[in-house]
């Protein structure tokens, strides 16, 4: 009994120590962890036929080799990225093959820094707004510079920001993905940077236009890097509105009559997107446009993946099956766009809810995508730490329940996929069914997160406040 008590106290002490370790120390530990993983990858690859390094890392490195030889990176087959990725990895050839991994791991840490700063800024701002709102109810208006004395320790911005950053830093999935050489964290960094600049513009009125313009530049760059952030545009745009859109007419007015801030965002995005696209088009021609952009629209991948549309795509690949009509294609694609529109209008109209909106939109993009692999999960996992504080209405038990459901649905999908791939069983319909189960599970998780979202979850001491 005494021993159990001592162990519990030990765990509690460890938990407290982790909680109070400075953010810089967490960054240092995470950096060492990532360097360790990169070293392990180098040793593993030199000995094993099953490589640790991501196949895309090799493709981009080959693209970089072509660039150094004065050729186009698209000369490497299956190179379907922005040429920027090849430029970034040229030092793989000139300096060391692990250079790119080191660079992506650095962006991993930069993401954590942005998460930390963004959450800190947002919690503080939300707290101040809540206090102001609360005080106005008691007819005791005060200026906006309230101290954080009335907050309990667990809701303190510093602690919440550190916990959110740690959620990213110690996530094994993200650490492994970046150290395997996947460039997803590079693009995720610019998605979070866009959100950060938009949120910062609300608190820094003097420089707000420049910050929004900067957000536009980052958004244009990330659309150039990966197409999917294009679908975040409506939410970014609406978050800069000054009044609530409630009717379709309001919405139309919002779109047709942008305010100054919205114009800054649009111009920043267009300048950056057009500049990058035009530069690379003049350098590499039509091949660049096709491989980096158009291919992703015409891509049909009938090989098994998590997507609900996998079975449909596979069965539709038969020459005897006619190409579906435009109406049928619209019916398949429309639910995704309907949800994106709904989420942008529901959570995109205020900057306080913007991080959650972008998370939910990314979640919908991945869930409804025609091809879904594990690597796509990073699109929303990178934004999830920004909104952890907003899920306080969900109990720990329910959180773990949802996580368990998400993992279980993947495990259930893996079984028929394994049987097809390694035992050549005819499990196409079983995979299709499990894809549908995973789809429904994701839908349920999203509904739970939407229904339990709360933006002002503070335990405020009224005695200290009043």
């Amino acid at each position: 009994m005494t021993q159990t008590k001592a162990t519990t106290t030990g765990w509690q002490r460890l938990g407290r120590r982790i909680l109070y370790t400075s953010f810089q120390t967490h960054l240092l530990i995470s950096a060492l962890l990532r360097i360790g993983l990169i070293c392990y990858g180098q040793i593993h690859d030199s000995q094993s036929a099953v490589p640790y390094t991501d196949i895309d890392y090799k493709v981009v490195t080959d693209g970089a080799r072509q660039v150094l030889a004065g050729d186009t990176p698209f000369a490497r087959h299956t190179y379907r990225y922005s040429p920027i990725m090849a430029y970034l990895q040229t030092l793989n050839i000139l300096l060391h093959p692990a250079w790119g991994k080191l660079l992506y791991a650095t962006f991993d840490l930069l993401i954590a820094t942005l998460i930390y700063r963004l959450v800190h800024m947002e919690i503080k701002s939300q707290y101040q707004k809540t206090v102001q709102h609360l005080l106005s109810k008691f007819n005791r208006p005060r200026d906006s510079d309230q101290s954080l004395d009335a907050l309990d320790e667990r809701s303190h911005p510093e602690n919440l920001a550190r916990a959110s950053a740690c959620f990213w830093l110690y996530n094994p999935l993200t650490a492994v993905i970046s150290t395997r050489g996947s460039g997803d964290c590079f693009s995720s960094f610019f998605v979070i940077l866009t959100i950060y600049l938009l949120l910062k513009s609300e608190h820094n009125v003097a420089r707000s236009y420049w910050l929004i313009f900067g957000a536009g530049l980052a958004h244009g760059l990330v659309i150039h890097l990966r197409l999917y952030p294009l679908l975040f545009s409506l939410a970014y745009y609406l978050s800069l509105s000054t009044r609530l859109t409630q009717t379709p007419l309001d919405f139309l007015c919002q779109i047709l009559r942008p305010n100054k801030q919205q114009l800054c965002l649009i111009s920043g995005t267009l300048i950056s997107l057009v500049a990058f696209t035009w530069t690379f088009y003049t350098m590499y021609g039509w091949e660049y446009i096709y491989e980096a952009y158009l291919y992703h629209f015409v891509r049909k991948d009938p090989r098994h993946n998590f997507s609900l549309q996998f079975l449909l795509q596979y069965l539709g690949s038969a020459s005897s099956v006619a190409e579906p009509s435009a109406i049928l294609k619209t019916l398949v694609l429309a639910p995704q766009f309907l949800l994106i529109l709904y989420l942008s209008l529901s959570f995109g109209q205020f900057r306080q809810t913007l991080p959650f909106c972008i998370f939910a939109v990314a979640f919908v993009i991945v869930t409804y995508n025609s091809v879904v692999t594990s690597q796509y999960f990073i699109w929303y996992l990178a934004i999830l730490p920004l909104c952890l504080n907003n899920f306080k209405m969900l109990s720990w038990r329910r959180c773990f329940g949802l996580l368990f459901l998400w993992l279980l649905a993947q495990a259930l999908w893996l079984l028929p996929a394994y049987l097809l791939e390694f035992h050549t069983w005819n499990t196409f319909y079983w995979i299709g069914l499990q894809g549908a189960v995973f789809f429904v599970t994701n839908g349920y998780i999203l509904e739970q997160l939407l229904s339990h979202y709360g933006f002002t979850q503070f335990k405020i001491s009224y005695r200290k406040l009043l």
């Binding site: 690859d45 000995q47 036929a49 490589p51 090799k58 493709v59 087959h77 299956t78 707004k129 102001q132 709102h133 906006s144 609530l244 009938p302 090989r303 609900l308 549309q309 079975l311 449909l312 596979y314 069965l315 539709g316 690949s317 038969a318 020459s319 005897s320 099956v321 049928l328 019916l331 398949v332 429309a334 639910p335 995704q336 309907l338 949800l339 529901s346 959570f347 109209q349 205020f350 809810t353 409804y368 791939e421 390694f422 035992h423 050549t424 005819n426 196409f428 319909y429 299709g432 549908a436 789809f439 429904v440 839908g443 509904e447 939407l450 229904s451 979202y453 709360g454 933006f455 002002t456």
Partner: protein, 237 residues
């Protein structure tokens, strides 16, 4: 070949007669692969780097297309004759287009062909009865990963490199298969397309509408509160 799976390894156990072993000869095992099979050039590059494979294969093999749109190709496995030697070639089967006539497609992998190249002085080592076509010499066409018959044209320079490249003889192989070189690749039913299309549309719409209906109350409440905050702030300003 491994018994099952879309990813298998072709294992060869080579045995040579003693007179060829330890000489300056070289062999190439030509493995033709049908359109329903592909190799990952990145995977083979890694194996070559680890010195677990010495092979010639096409620079680019499209791994994304289905069988019906793919083309056959060959892989050449190189080595020097030893009394016994094991070689392994990892290969992958492509998906086949769905059909209403079958639930599996049989893919047969042809037997490999063996080519030998001994220096001019040692060419007598290759016994005549061993050679499949004694009157023919073959040129190794590495860029296309195949062998071409050696047609000597007038005026073609008889360089040492050319002589060596075109000094290959195809020899008989006594193949002993541990199991048939055949694979049964599953195939879906085309007739299921209609119901699957309806199910996909129905499920996509149902989930989207259900999500919207269930979360609407909370989103309205949040927007109302945020709007109150905004109005208050505008008033304070």
């Amino acid at each position: 070949m491994d018994k099952a799976g879309m990813h298998r390894t072709l294992n060869y156990r080579m045995r040579f007669d003693i007179p060829l072993v330890g000489k300056d000869c070289e062999y190439v095992l030509l493995q033709d692969l049908p359109a329903s099979v592909y190799i990952s050039t990145d995977e083979l590059d890694d194996l070559q780097r680890l010195k677990r494979l010495n092979a010639i294969y096409p620079k680019f093999v499209n791994i994304e297309v289905a069988t019906e749109r793919a083309h056959p190709f060959s892989v050449l496995l190189r080595g020097t004759p030893k009394i016994t030697e094991s070689l392994a070639l990892p290969l992958h089967f492509r998906y086949h287009a769905p059909s209403d006539k079958r639930s599996a497609a049989t893919v047969a992998i042809p037997l490999p062909e063996l080519y030998l190249n001994c220096p001019m002085a040692d060419s007598a080592l290759i016994e005549n009865e061993l050679v499949a076509r004694p009157d023919k010499l073959y040129c190794l066409n590495a860029p296309e990963s195949r062998f071409d018959e050696n047609h000597v044209k007038d005026g073609q320079p008889a360089t040492m490199a050319n002589l060596q490249r075109c000094n290959w003889r195809r020899v008989h192989v006594d193949c002993q298969l541990k199991m048939p070189l055949r694979a049964e690749i599953p195939v879906g039913q085309t007739s299921a397309y209609g119901p699957v299309l309806c199910g996909t549309i129905l499920l996509g719409w149902s989930l989207a509408l259900w999500t919207i209906i269930h979360s609407m109350a909370n989103t309205r409440r949040i927007n109302q509160r945020l709007n109150e905050q905004r109005l208050l702030q505008q008033k304070v300003k």
